[in-house]
Symmetry: C2
Subunit: 306 residues, 2 copies
Protein backbone atom coordinates (compact mmCIF):
# COMPACT_ATOMS: atom_id res chain seq x y z
CA UNK A 1 0.00 0.00 0.00
CA UNK A 2 1.24 3.50 -0.73
CA UNK A 3 0.97 4.78 2.80
CA UNK A 4 -1.21 5.20 5.84
CA UNK A 5 -1.61 8.95 5.46
CA UNK A 6 -2.60 8.65 1.78
CA UNK A 7 -5.19 6.03 2.75
CA UNK A 8 -6.64 8.29 5.44
CA UNK A 9 -6.65 11.23 3.03
CA UNK A 10 -8.45 9.12 0.45
CA UNK A 11 -11.02 7.96 3.02
CA UNK A 12 -11.57 11.54 4.13
CA UNK A 13 -12.25 12.59 0.52
CA UNK A 14 -14.86 9.84 0.21
CA UNK A 15 -16.70 11.00 3.30
CA UNK A 16 -19.59 13.42 2.84
CA UNK A 17 -20.57 15.94 5.50
CA UNK A 18 -23.25 14.74 7.85
CA UNK A 19 -25.55 16.95 9.94
CA UNK A 20 -24.96 15.34 13.35
CA UNK A 21 -21.19 15.33 12.95
CA UNK A 22 -19.48 18.44 14.31
CA UNK A 23 -15.99 16.95 13.80
CA UNK A 24 -15.42 13.95 11.55
CA UNK A 25 -12.32 12.16 10.31
CA UNK A 26 -9.07 14.08 10.76
CA UNK A 27 -8.86 15.25 14.35
CA UNK A 28 -7.93 13.46 17.58
CA UNK A 29 -11.51 12.29 18.10
CA UNK A 30 -14.84 12.72 16.39
CA UNK A 31 -17.33 15.14 17.96
CA UNK A 32 -21.03 14.43 17.59
CA UNK A 33 -24.25 16.20 18.37
CA UNK A 34 -26.51 14.03 20.52
CA UNK A 35 -30.30 14.11 20.73
CA UNK A 36 -31.10 15.41 24.23
CA UNK A 37 -33.02 13.09 26.51
CA UNK A 38 -32.15 9.91 24.64
CA UNK A 39 -29.88 7.21 25.98
CA UNK A 40 -26.71 6.88 23.97
CA UNK A 41 -26.05 3.32 22.74
CA UNK A 42 -22.47 2.14 22.27
CA UNK A 43 -21.30 -1.17 20.86
CA UNK A 44 -18.12 -2.58 19.38
CA UNK A 45 -17.30 -5.88 17.70
CA UNK A 46 -14.04 -7.08 16.25
CA UNK A 47 -13.73 -9.55 13.39
CA UNK A 48 -10.51 -11.46 12.84
CA UNK A 49 -8.90 -13.31 9.97
CA UNK A 50 -9.10 -17.08 10.36
CA UNK A 51 -11.84 -16.76 12.98
CA UNK A 52 -14.75 -14.80 11.47
CA UNK A 53 -13.60 -14.96 7.84
CA UNK A 54 -10.66 -16.15 5.74
CA UNK A 55 -9.12 -13.22 3.90
CA UNK A 56 -7.66 -15.65 1.37
CA UNK A 57 -11.17 -16.61 0.32
CA UNK A 58 -13.38 -13.59 1.07
CA UNK A 59 -13.30 -10.35 -0.89
CA UNK A 60 -12.20 -7.24 1.07
CA UNK A 61 -15.54 -5.59 0.32
CA UNK A 62 -17.42 -8.47 1.97
CA UNK A 63 -15.15 -8.30 5.03
CA UNK A 64 -15.93 -4.59 5.35
CA UNK A 65 -19.67 -5.19 5.03
CA UNK A 66 -19.64 -7.91 7.67
CA UNK A 67 -17.60 -5.84 10.14
CA UNK A 68 -20.13 -3.00 9.91
CA UNK A 69 -23.25 -5.17 9.80
CA UNK A 70 -22.52 -7.24 12.92
CA UNK A 71 -22.42 -3.97 14.86
CA UNK A 72 -25.55 -2.53 13.26
CA UNK A 73 -27.24 -5.77 14.28
CA UNK A 74 -26.39 -5.07 17.94
CA UNK A 75 -27.90 -1.59 17.73
CA UNK A 76 -31.00 -3.16 16.14
CA UNK A 77 -31.28 -5.58 19.06
CA UNK A 78 -31.75 -2.60 21.41
CA UNK A 79 -34.39 -1.10 19.12
CA UNK A 80 -31.98 1.76 18.45
CA UNK A 81 -31.09 4.07 15.62
CA UNK A 82 -27.40 3.91 14.60
CA UNK A 83 -25.95 7.42 14.37
CA UNK A 84 -22.18 7.13 13.78
CA UNK A 85 -19.47 4.55 13.25
CA UNK A 86 -15.74 4.42 13.96
CA UNK A 87 -13.54 1.85 12.26
CA UNK A 88 -10.14 0.46 13.31
CA UNK A 89 -8.29 -1.79 10.90
CA UNK A 90 -5.15 -3.87 10.89
CA UNK A 91 -4.19 -4.64 7.28
CA UNK A 92 -1.44 -6.89 5.92
CA UNK A 93 1.36 -4.99 4.18
CA UNK A 94 0.76 -7.25 1.20
CA UNK A 95 -2.63 -5.64 0.57
CA UNK A 96 -2.87 -3.36 -2.44
CA UNK A 97 -4.43 0.09 -2.42
CA UNK A 98 -7.47 -1.33 -4.15
CA UNK A 99 -7.86 -4.04 -1.47
CA UNK A 100 -7.83 -1.37 1.23
CA UNK A 101 -10.24 0.80 -0.75
CA UNK A 102 -12.58 -2.14 -1.34
CA UNK A 103 -12.63 -2.86 2.41
CA UNK A 104 -13.64 0.73 3.05
CA UNK A 105 -16.19 0.45 0.22
CA UNK A 106 -17.82 -2.49 1.99
CA UNK A 107 -17.87 -0.66 5.32
CA UNK A 108 -19.46 2.35 3.66
CA UNK A 109 -21.99 0.30 1.69
CA UNK A 110 -23.27 -1.26 4.91
CA UNK A 111 -23.23 2.04 6.82
CA UNK A 112 -24.85 4.01 3.99
CA UNK A 113 -27.79 1.59 3.98
CA UNK A 114 -28.80 3.16 7.28
CA UNK A 115 -27.37 6.65 6.69
CA UNK A 116 -24.63 6.08 9.28
CA UNK A 117 -21.56 8.31 8.80
CA UNK A 118 -18.08 6.87 9.42
CA UNK A 119 -16.59 9.57 11.62
CA UNK A 120 -13.14 8.30 12.45
CA UNK A 121 -10.87 5.41 13.21
CA UNK A 122 -7.39 4.09 13.10
CA UNK A 123 -5.35 2.37 10.38
CA UNK A 124 -2.53 -0.03 11.22
CA UNK A 125 -0.30 -2.54 9.57
CA UNK A 126 -0.97 -6.05 10.82
CA UNK A 127 1.60 -8.82 10.91
CA UNK A 128 -1.08 -11.44 10.97
CA UNK A 129 -4.01 -11.11 8.65
CA UNK A 130 -6.88 -8.69 8.56
CA UNK A 131 -8.50 -7.35 11.73
CA UNK A 132 -11.46 -4.97 11.63
CA UNK A 133 -13.05 -3.46 14.71
CA UNK A 134 -16.12 -1.29 14.25
CA UNK A 135 -17.75 0.75 16.98
CA UNK A 136 -21.23 2.17 16.56
CA UNK A 137 -22.89 4.93 18.46
CA UNK A 138 -26.66 4.95 18.47
CA UNK A 139 -29.74 6.49 19.96
CA UNK A 140 -32.17 4.46 22.05
CA UNK A 141 -35.91 4.61 21.31
CA UNK A 142 -37.78 7.27 23.24
CA UNK A 143 -39.30 4.61 25.53
CA UNK A 144 -35.77 3.34 26.33
CA UNK A 145 -33.63 0.51 24.98
CA UNK A 146 -35.10 -2.98 24.68
CA UNK A 147 -33.04 -5.12 27.04
CA UNK A 148 -32.47 -8.84 27.43
CA UNK A 149 -33.96 -8.71 30.89
CA UNK A 150 -37.55 -7.76 30.10
CA UNK A 151 -39.14 -11.11 29.19
CA UNK A 152 -42.07 -12.26 31.34
CA UNK A 153 -43.66 -15.67 31.75
CA UNK A 154 -46.50 -15.92 29.26
CA UNK A 155 -44.71 -13.87 26.60
CA UNK A 156 -44.56 -15.37 23.16
CA UNK A 157 -41.09 -15.93 21.69
CA UNK A 158 -40.69 -14.82 18.06
CA UNK A 159 -37.86 -14.70 15.58
CA UNK A 160 -37.41 -12.91 12.26
CA UNK A 161 -36.22 -14.67 9.10
CA UNK A 162 -34.71 -18.13 9.28
CA UNK A 163 -31.87 -19.84 11.10
CA UNK A 164 -28.93 -22.21 10.61
CA UNK A 165 -26.21 -22.83 8.04
CA UNK A 166 -25.10 -19.19 8.03
CA UNK A 167 -21.53 -20.31 7.35
CA UNK A 168 -22.51 -21.22 3.78
CA UNK A 169 -22.84 -17.53 2.92
CA UNK A 170 -25.45 -15.68 4.97
CA UNK A 171 -22.87 -14.46 7.55
CA UNK A 172 -21.21 -12.39 4.82
CA UNK A 173 -24.34 -11.24 3.14
CA UNK A 174 -27.07 -10.29 5.58
CA UNK A 175 -28.95 -7.06 6.10
CA UNK A 176 -29.02 -6.16 9.79
CA UNK A 177 -32.58 -5.90 11.10
CA UNK A 178 -32.35 -2.21 12.03
CA UNK A 179 -35.51 -1.23 10.17
CA UNK A 180 -37.55 -4.17 11.44
CA UNK A 181 -36.40 -3.63 15.04
CA UNK A 182 -37.48 -0.01 14.99
CA UNK A 183 -40.88 -0.88 13.53
CA UNK A 184 -41.36 -3.56 16.17
CA UNK A 185 -40.39 -1.20 18.99
CA UNK A 186 -42.46 1.69 17.66
CA UNK A 187 -45.60 -0.35 17.12
CA UNK A 188 -45.54 -3.08 19.73
CA UNK A 189 -44.75 -3.75 23.36
CA UNK A 190 -41.50 -5.70 22.86
CA UNK A 191 -40.35 -6.96 26.27
CA UNK A 192 -36.91 -8.40 25.46
CA UNK A 193 -34.82 -8.67 22.31
CA UNK A 194 -31.45 -10.01 21.17
CA UNK A 195 -29.78 -10.52 17.82
CA UNK A 196 -28.98 -14.15 17.09
CA UNK A 197 -25.19 -14.21 16.90
CA UNK A 198 -23.98 -16.99 19.22
CA UNK A 199 -26.81 -19.34 18.21
CA UNK A 200 -30.52 -19.25 19.02
CA UNK A 201 -30.26 -21.57 22.03
CA UNK A 202 -27.37 -19.63 23.56
CA UNK A 203 -28.96 -16.25 22.85
CA UNK A 204 -32.41 -17.14 24.17
CA UNK A 205 -30.72 -18.59 27.26
CA UNK A 206 -29.31 -15.11 27.81
CA UNK A 207 -32.79 -13.59 27.70
CA UNK A 208 -34.16 -16.30 30.00
CA UNK A 209 -31.31 -15.93 32.50
CA UNK A 210 -31.43 -12.11 32.52
CA UNK A 211 -35.22 -12.09 32.78
CA UNK A 212 -35.47 -14.80 35.46
CA UNK A 213 -37.75 -16.99 33.40
CA UNK A 214 -37.57 -20.13 31.27
CA UNK A 215 -38.60 -20.85 27.70
CA UNK A 216 -40.23 -23.70 25.81
CA UNK A 217 -39.47 -23.76 22.08
CA UNK A 218 -41.53 -25.77 19.60
CA UNK A 219 -39.33 -27.81 17.27
CA UNK A 220 -41.85 -27.82 14.43
CA UNK A 221 -42.17 -24.02 14.41
CA UNK A 222 -38.47 -23.34 13.96
CA UNK A 223 -37.81 -21.40 10.72
CA UNK A 224 -34.91 -23.33 9.23
CA UNK A 225 -32.78 -21.68 6.55
CA UNK A 226 -32.43 -23.73 3.34
CA UNK A 227 -28.65 -23.66 3.83
CA UNK A 228 -29.03 -25.56 7.13
CA UNK A 229 -30.09 -28.59 5.06
CA UNK A 230 -26.92 -28.35 3.00
CA UNK A 231 -24.45 -28.22 5.90
CA UNK A 232 -21.93 -31.07 6.01
CA UNK A 233 -21.64 -33.24 9.13
CA UNK A 234 -24.01 -35.26 11.28
CA UNK A 235 -26.07 -32.42 12.83
CA UNK A 236 -29.72 -32.15 11.77
CA UNK A 237 -31.07 -28.96 10.15
CA UNK A 238 -32.93 -28.24 13.42
CA UNK A 239 -29.66 -28.48 15.35
CA UNK A 240 -28.04 -26.09 12.91
CA UNK A 241 -30.91 -23.65 13.45
CA UNK A 242 -30.52 -23.90 17.22
CA UNK A 243 -26.75 -23.78 17.52
CA UNK A 244 -24.94 -22.42 14.46
CA UNK A 245 -25.20 -18.71 15.19
CA UNK A 246 -24.27 -15.71 13.02
CA UNK A 247 -27.89 -15.56 11.81
CA UNK A 248 -28.19 -11.89 12.83
CA UNK A 249 -31.94 -12.26 13.10
CA UNK A 250 -33.97 -10.72 15.94
CA UNK A 251 -35.26 -13.03 18.66
CA UNK A 252 -37.73 -11.29 20.95
CA UNK A 253 -40.58 -11.71 23.38
CA UNK A 254 -43.84 -9.81 23.78
CA UNK A 255 -47.34 -10.34 25.14
CA UNK A 256 -49.52 -12.77 23.15
CA UNK A 257 -51.77 -9.97 21.89
CA UNK A 258 -48.86 -8.02 20.43
CA UNK A 259 -47.41 -11.21 18.98
CA UNK A 260 -50.66 -12.00 17.14
CA UNK A 261 -50.74 -8.51 15.66
CA UNK A 262 -47.06 -8.73 14.67
CA UNK A 263 -47.64 -12.06 12.91
CA UNK A 264 -50.45 -10.43 10.93
CA UNK A 265 -48.57 -7.21 10.11
CA UNK A 266 -47.48 -7.17 6.45
CA UNK A 267 -45.68 -3.82 6.84
CA UNK A 268 -42.81 -5.52 8.71
CA UNK A 269 -41.80 -7.04 5.38
CA UNK A 270 -40.03 -10.06 6.86
CA UNK A 271 -41.23 -13.55 7.79
CA UNK A 272 -41.69 -13.79 11.56
CA UNK A 273 -42.15 -17.11 13.32
CA UNK A 274 -43.76 -17.84 16.66
CA UNK A 275 -41.31 -20.37 18.06
CA UNK A 276 -42.26 -20.70 21.70
CA UNK A 277 -43.28 -19.26 25.03
CA UNK A 278 -41.63 -17.79 28.11
CA UNK A 279 -42.39 -19.77 31.27
CA UNK A 280 -42.06 -19.34 35.02
CA UNK A 281 -40.08 -22.57 35.34
CA UNK A 282 -36.44 -21.86 34.47
CA UNK A 283 -34.41 -23.50 31.73
CA UNK A 284 -34.68 -23.81 27.99
CA UNK A 285 -36.79 -26.64 26.60
CA UNK A 286 -37.49 -28.05 23.17
CA UNK A 287 -40.96 -29.50 22.68
CA UNK A 288 -41.59 -32.05 19.95
CA UNK A 289 -44.92 -32.28 18.11
CA UNK A 290 -45.70 -35.26 20.37
CA UNK A 291 -45.53 -32.93 23.37
CA UNK A 292 -42.31 -34.53 24.66
CA UNK A 293 -39.83 -32.03 26.10
CA UNK A 294 -36.05 -32.18 26.20
CA UNK A 295 -33.70 -29.71 27.89
CA UNK A 296 -31.77 -27.58 25.42
CA UNK A 297 -28.13 -26.95 26.14
CA UNK A 298 -27.40 -23.23 26.04
CA UNK A 299 -24.22 -23.92 24.09
CA UNK A 300 -23.19 -21.63 21.26
CA UNK A 301 -19.93 -20.64 19.69
CA UNK A 302 -17.29 -20.13 22.39
CA UNK A 303 -14.14 -18.42 21.16
CA UNK A 304 -11.90 -19.93 23.81
CA UNK A 305 -12.99 -23.54 23.48
CA UNK A 306 -11.38 -25.91 21.00
Amino acid sequence: MRGEFEYIRWIRQQTPRSPGVAVGIGDDTAALRVEPGRLCLLTSDMILDGVHFESARVAPRAIGRKAMNVNLSDIAAMGGRPTAAIVCVGLPRTWSDSDAQALYGGLREAADAFAVPIVGGDTNASQAGVVVCVTILGEAPERGAVLRSGARAGDWVLVTGSLGGSLLGHHLDFIPRVREARMLCDGYDIHAMIDVSDGLAADLSQIAAESGCGMVLRAESMPIRAAAHRMPGPATPLEHALYDGEDFELAFTCPADDARRILADPALGVPIAHIGMATTEPGLWLEASTGAREALEPRGYDHFRP
Copy 2:
Protein backbone atom coordinates in the same frame (compact mmCIF):
# COMPACT_ATOMS: atom_id res chain seq x y z
CA MET B 1 -8.51 -20.27 28.84
CA ARG B 2 -11.62 -21.82 30.38
CA GLY B 3 -14.10 -20.12 28.12
CA GLU B 4 -15.33 -16.90 26.65
CA PHE B 5 -18.54 -16.80 28.68
CA GLU B 6 -16.67 -17.42 31.97
CA TYR B 7 -14.29 -14.58 31.08
CA ILE B 8 -17.17 -12.20 30.36
CA ARG B 9 -18.91 -13.29 33.58
CA TRP B 10 -15.70 -12.67 35.53
CA ILE B 11 -15.27 -9.23 33.93
CA ARG B 12 -18.86 -8.35 34.73
CA GLN B 13 -18.33 -9.29 38.37
CA GLN B 14 -15.31 -6.97 38.52
CA THR B 15 -17.29 -4.04 37.17
CA PRO B 16 -18.88 -1.68 39.68
CA ARG B 17 -22.06 0.25 38.94
CA SER B 18 -21.48 3.69 37.55
CA PRO B 19 -23.94 6.61 37.62
CA GLY B 20 -23.89 7.54 33.91
CA VAL B 21 -24.28 3.94 32.79
CA ALA B 22 -27.90 2.85 32.29
CA VAL B 23 -26.88 -0.49 30.75
CA GLY B 24 -23.35 -1.86 31.12
CA ILE B 25 -21.70 -5.13 30.19
CA GLY B 26 -24.11 -7.95 29.37
CA ASP B 27 -26.61 -6.68 26.81
CA ASP B 28 -26.39 -6.14 23.06
CA THR B 29 -24.97 -2.65 23.53
CA ALA B 30 -24.20 -0.34 26.41
CA ALA B 31 -26.63 2.51 27.08
CA LEU B 32 -25.31 5.74 28.54
CA ARG B 33 -26.74 8.97 29.88
CA VAL B 34 -25.25 11.95 28.09
CA GLU B 35 -24.86 15.49 29.42
CA PRO B 36 -27.28 17.63 27.41
CA GLY B 37 -25.76 20.40 25.31
CA ARG B 38 -22.26 18.93 25.19
CA LEU B 39 -20.69 17.49 22.08
CA CYS B 40 -20.08 13.78 22.36
CA LEU B 41 -16.47 12.76 21.64
CA LEU B 42 -15.75 9.36 20.14
CA THR B 43 -12.36 7.79 19.47
CA SER B 44 -10.98 4.33 18.86
CA ASP B 45 -7.43 2.99 18.54
CA MET B 46 -6.28 -0.55 17.97
CA ILE B 47 -2.96 -1.95 19.16
CA LEU B 48 -1.49 -5.06 17.57
CA ASP B 49 1.05 -7.66 18.53
CA GLY B 50 4.37 -7.20 16.75
CA VAL B 51 3.46 -3.63 15.79
CA HIS B 52 2.70 -1.67 18.97
CA PHE B 53 4.10 -4.21 21.44
CA GLU B 54 5.55 -7.72 21.53
CA SER B 55 3.36 -9.97 23.65
CA ALA B 56 6.33 -12.30 24.15
CA ARG B 57 8.14 -9.52 26.01
CA VAL B 58 5.44 -7.29 27.48
CA ALA B 59 3.23 -8.28 30.40
CA PRO B 60 -0.52 -8.53 29.66
CA ARG B 61 -1.21 -5.88 32.26
CA ALA B 62 1.04 -3.38 30.45
CA ILE B 63 -0.65 -4.18 27.13
CA GLY B 64 -4.02 -3.44 28.70
CA ARG B 65 -2.80 -0.18 30.18
CA LYS B 66 -1.36 0.99 26.87
CA ALA B 67 -4.50 0.11 24.90
CA MET B 68 -6.61 2.23 27.24
CA ASN B 69 -4.13 5.07 27.66
CA VAL B 70 -3.57 5.76 23.95
CA ASN B 71 -7.31 6.40 23.66
CA LEU B 72 -7.53 8.52 26.80
CA SER B 73 -4.73 10.57 25.28
CA ASP B 74 -6.91 11.32 22.23
CA ILE B 75 -9.77 12.51 24.43
CA ALA B 76 -7.27 14.70 26.30
CA ALA B 77 -6.15 16.24 23.00
CA MET B 78 -9.71 17.55 22.49
CA GLY B 79 -9.79 18.96 26.02
CA GLY B 80 -12.49 16.42 26.83
CA ARG B 81 -13.62 14.36 29.77
CA PRO B 82 -13.63 10.59 29.08
CA THR B 83 -16.95 9.08 30.18
CA ALA B 84 -17.02 5.42 29.08
CA ALA B 85 -14.87 2.81 27.39
CA ILE B 86 -15.59 -0.28 25.30
CA VAL B 87 -12.92 -2.92 24.77
CA CYS B 88 -12.57 -5.53 22.01
CA VAL B 89 -9.87 -8.14 22.33
CA GLY B 90 -8.43 -10.94 20.24
CA LEU B 91 -6.48 -13.29 22.51
CA PRO B 92 -4.33 -16.30 21.62
CA ARG B 93 -5.81 -19.61 22.76
CA THR B 94 -2.52 -20.27 24.51
CA TRP B 95 -3.22 -17.49 27.01
CA SER B 96 -4.10 -18.59 30.51
CA ASP B 97 -7.01 -17.27 32.56
CA SER B 98 -4.58 -15.19 34.56
CA ASP B 99 -3.09 -13.63 31.39
CA ALA B 100 -6.57 -12.60 30.27
CA GLN B 101 -7.41 -11.31 33.73
CA ALA B 102 -4.16 -9.34 33.91
CA LEU B 103 -4.95 -7.71 30.55
CA TYR B 104 -8.31 -6.63 31.91
CA GLY B 105 -6.58 -5.49 35.11
CA GLY B 106 -4.35 -3.19 33.08
CA LEU B 107 -7.29 -1.81 31.11
CA ARG B 108 -9.15 -1.15 34.34
CA GLU B 109 -6.15 0.39 36.11
CA ALA B 110 -5.78 2.95 33.31
CA ALA B 111 -9.53 3.62 33.09
CA ASP B 112 -9.98 3.85 36.87
CA ALA B 113 -7.33 6.59 37.03
CA PHE B 114 -9.89 8.84 35.34
CA ALA B 115 -13.05 7.19 36.72
CA VAL B 116 -13.95 5.80 33.30
CA PRO B 117 -16.25 2.75 33.42
CA ILE B 118 -15.70 -0.11 30.97
CA VAL B 119 -19.24 -0.62 29.70
CA GLY B 120 -18.93 -3.38 27.13
CA GLY B 121 -16.92 -5.04 24.43
CA ASP B 122 -16.19 -8.22 22.63
CA THR B 123 -13.87 -11.15 23.34
CA ASN B 124 -12.45 -13.29 20.55
CA ALA B 125 -9.87 -15.93 19.99
CA SER B 126 -7.07 -14.70 17.76
CA GLN B 127 -4.94 -16.88 15.52
CA ALA B 128 -2.25 -14.27 15.38
CA GLY B 129 -1.18 -12.72 18.64
CA VAL B 130 -2.89 -10.20 20.83
CA VAL B 131 -5.10 -7.45 19.42
CA VAL B 132 -6.79 -4.88 21.63
CA CYS B 133 -9.11 -2.19 20.35
CA VAL B 134 -10.45 0.34 22.82
CA THR B 135 -13.12 2.92 22.07
CA ILE B 136 -13.73 5.85 24.36
CA LEU B 137 -16.74 8.08 24.60
CA GLY B 138 -16.19 11.49 26.07
CA GLU B 139 -17.72 14.87 26.67
CA ALA B 140 -16.32 18.01 25.06
CA PRO B 141 -15.61 21.08 27.19
CA GLU B 142 -18.51 23.53 27.44
CA ARG B 143 -16.75 25.94 25.04
CA GLY B 144 -16.42 23.11 22.48
CA ALA B 145 -13.65 20.68 21.59
CA VAL B 146 -10.14 21.97 20.94
CA LEU B 147 -9.40 21.14 17.32
CA ARG B 148 -6.27 20.88 15.24
CA SER B 149 -7.52 23.66 13.01
CA GLY B 150 -7.54 26.57 15.45
CA ALA B 151 -3.88 27.72 15.42
CA ARG B 152 -3.25 31.31 14.31
CA ALA B 153 -0.06 33.01 13.17
CA GLY B 154 1.56 34.56 16.23
CA ASP B 155 0.46 31.75 18.57
CA TRP B 156 3.14 30.24 20.71
CA VAL B 157 3.69 26.50 20.35
CA LEU B 158 4.03 24.59 23.62
CA VAL B 159 4.45 20.99 24.62
CA THR B 160 4.05 19.16 27.92
CA GLY B 161 6.70 16.81 29.33
CA SER B 162 9.55 15.61 27.16
CA LEU B 163 9.97 13.82 23.85
CA GLY B 164 11.91 11.02 22.15
CA GLY B 165 13.05 7.51 22.96
CA SER B 166 9.58 6.39 24.02
CA LEU B 167 10.32 2.90 22.73
CA LEU B 168 12.67 2.31 25.67
CA GLY B 169 9.71 2.18 28.05
CA HIS B 170 7.61 5.34 28.13
CA HIS B 171 5.11 4.04 25.51
CA LEU B 172 4.04 1.33 27.97
CA ASP B 173 4.12 3.45 31.06
CA PHE B 174 2.73 6.92 30.50
CA ILE B 175 -0.12 8.77 32.14
CA PRO B 176 -2.36 10.34 29.49
CA ARG B 177 -2.59 14.10 29.92
CA VAL B 178 -6.34 14.18 30.59
CA ARG B 179 -6.03 16.24 33.77
CA GLU B 180 -3.54 18.72 32.29
CA ALA B 181 -5.61 19.17 29.12
CA ARG B 182 -8.71 20.03 31.08
CA MET B 183 -6.86 22.52 33.24
CA LEU B 184 -5.38 24.12 30.12
CA CYS B 185 -8.78 24.35 28.42
CA ASP B 186 -10.56 25.59 31.52
CA GLY B 187 -8.02 28.28 32.33
CA TYR B 188 -6.57 29.39 29.03
CA ASP B 189 -7.47 30.19 25.45
CA ILE B 190 -6.00 27.09 23.80
CA HIS B 191 -6.35 27.50 20.02
CA ALA B 192 -5.25 24.08 18.76
CA MET B 193 -4.09 20.88 20.42
CA ILE B 194 -2.93 17.37 19.48
CA ASP B 195 -1.41 14.48 21.38
CA VAL B 196 2.04 13.53 20.16
CA SER B 197 1.62 10.02 18.83
CA ASP B 198 3.04 9.94 15.29
CA GLY B 199 6.01 12.16 16.24
CA LEU B 200 6.16 15.88 17.05
CA ALA B 201 7.07 16.97 13.51
CA ALA B 202 4.28 14.91 11.94
CA ASP B 203 1.73 15.97 14.54
CA LEU B 204 2.54 19.68 14.42
CA SER B 205 2.38 19.45 10.62
CA GLN B 206 -1.20 18.32 11.07
CA ILE B 207 -2.01 21.39 13.15
CA ALA B 208 -0.24 23.66 10.66
CA ALA B 209 -1.98 22.10 7.66
CA GLU B 210 -5.44 22.12 9.27
CA SER B 211 -4.98 25.67 10.53
CA GLY B 212 -3.53 27.08 7.31
CA CYS B 213 -0.38 28.37 8.98
CA GLY B 214 3.26 27.39 9.36
CA MET B 215 5.46 26.84 12.39
CA VAL B 216 9.01 27.61 13.40
CA LEU B 217 10.40 25.37 16.14
CA ARG B 218 13.50 26.27 18.14
CA ALA B 219 15.93 23.37 18.36
CA GLU B 220 17.42 24.46 21.68
CA SER B 221 14.02 24.66 23.38
CA MET B 222 13.04 21.10 22.60
CA PRO B 223 12.43 19.13 25.81
CA ILE B 224 14.34 15.91 25.13
CA ARG B 225 13.56 12.81 27.18
CA ALA B 226 16.62 11.22 28.83
CA ALA B 227 15.80 7.99 26.99
CA ALA B 228 16.31 9.76 23.64
CA HIS B 229 20.02 9.93 24.50
CA ARG B 230 20.13 6.19 25.07
CA MET B 231 18.51 5.15 21.78
CA PRO B 232 20.65 2.97 19.53
CA GLY B 233 21.40 4.06 15.96
CA PRO B 234 22.73 7.15 14.24
CA ALA B 235 19.87 9.61 14.95
CA THR B 236 20.59 12.47 17.35
CA PRO B 237 18.53 12.96 20.52
CA LEU B 238 16.87 15.98 18.86
CA GLU B 239 15.85 13.83 15.89
CA HIS B 240 14.39 11.27 18.28
CA ALA B 241 12.39 14.04 19.96
CA LEU B 242 11.09 15.26 16.61
CA TYR B 243 10.31 11.94 14.94
CA ASP B 244 9.98 8.99 17.34
CA GLY B 245 6.37 9.46 18.38
CA GLU B 246 4.35 7.60 21.04
CA ASP B 247 5.21 10.39 23.50
CA PHE B 248 1.54 10.99 24.32
CA GLU B 249 2.32 14.53 25.39
CA LEU B 250 0.14 17.51 24.48
CA ALA B 251 1.37 19.87 21.78
CA PHE B 252 -0.75 23.02 21.59
CA THR B 253 -0.87 26.63 20.52
CA CYS B 254 -2.26 29.71 22.24
CA PRO B 255 -1.80 33.48 22.26
CA ALA B 256 1.52 34.69 23.75
CA ASP B 257 -0.21 36.13 26.83
CA ASP B 258 -1.85 32.84 27.69
CA ALA B 259 1.41 31.01 27.00
CA ARG B 260 3.32 33.19 29.45
CA ARG B 261 0.73 32.56 32.15
CA ILE B 262 0.78 28.81 31.42
CA LEU B 263 4.57 28.69 31.72
CA ALA B 264 4.28 30.38 35.12
CA ASP B 265 1.38 28.23 36.41
CA PRO B 266 2.60 25.72 39.01
CA ALA B 267 -0.87 24.16 39.37
CA LEU B 268 -0.49 22.40 36.03
CA GLY B 269 2.02 20.13 37.73
CA VAL B 270 3.93 19.23 34.57
CA PRO B 271 6.94 20.79 32.82
CA ILE B 272 5.77 22.77 29.81
CA ALA B 273 8.17 24.00 27.15
CA HIS B 274 7.77 26.87 24.72
CA ILE B 275 9.15 25.30 21.57
CA GLY B 276 8.18 27.69 18.82
CA MET B 277 5.74 29.95 17.07
CA ALA B 278 2.98 29.70 14.49
CA THR B 279 3.66 31.76 11.36
CA THR B 280 1.76 33.01 8.35
CA GLU B 281 4.27 31.41 5.97
CA PRO B 282 3.41 27.75 5.57
CA GLY B 283 5.66 24.80 6.35
CA LEU B 284 7.42 23.47 9.39
CA TRP B 285 10.86 24.88 10.17
CA LEU B 286 13.56 24.12 12.68
CA GLU B 287 15.58 27.12 13.84
CA ALA B 288 19.09 26.62 15.27
CA SER B 289 20.52 28.91 17.96
CA THR B 290 22.45 30.61 15.17
CA GLY B 291 19.17 31.67 13.59
CA ALA B 292 19.63 29.30 10.63
CA ARG B 293 16.42 27.58 9.54
CA GLU B 294 15.95 24.20 7.92
CA ALA B 295 12.70 22.71 6.65
CA LEU B 296 11.41 19.86 8.80
CA GLU B 297 10.02 16.84 7.07
CA PRO B 298 6.58 16.03 8.42
CA ARG B 299 7.48 12.36 8.51
CA GLY B 300 6.35 10.21 11.37
CA TYR B 301 5.59 6.56 11.79
CA ASP B 302 3.65 5.27 8.77
CA HIS B 303 2.11 1.85 9.25
CA PHE B 304 2.10 0.98 5.59
CA ARG B 305 5.67 1.90 4.76
CA PRO B 306 8.53 -0.57 5.18
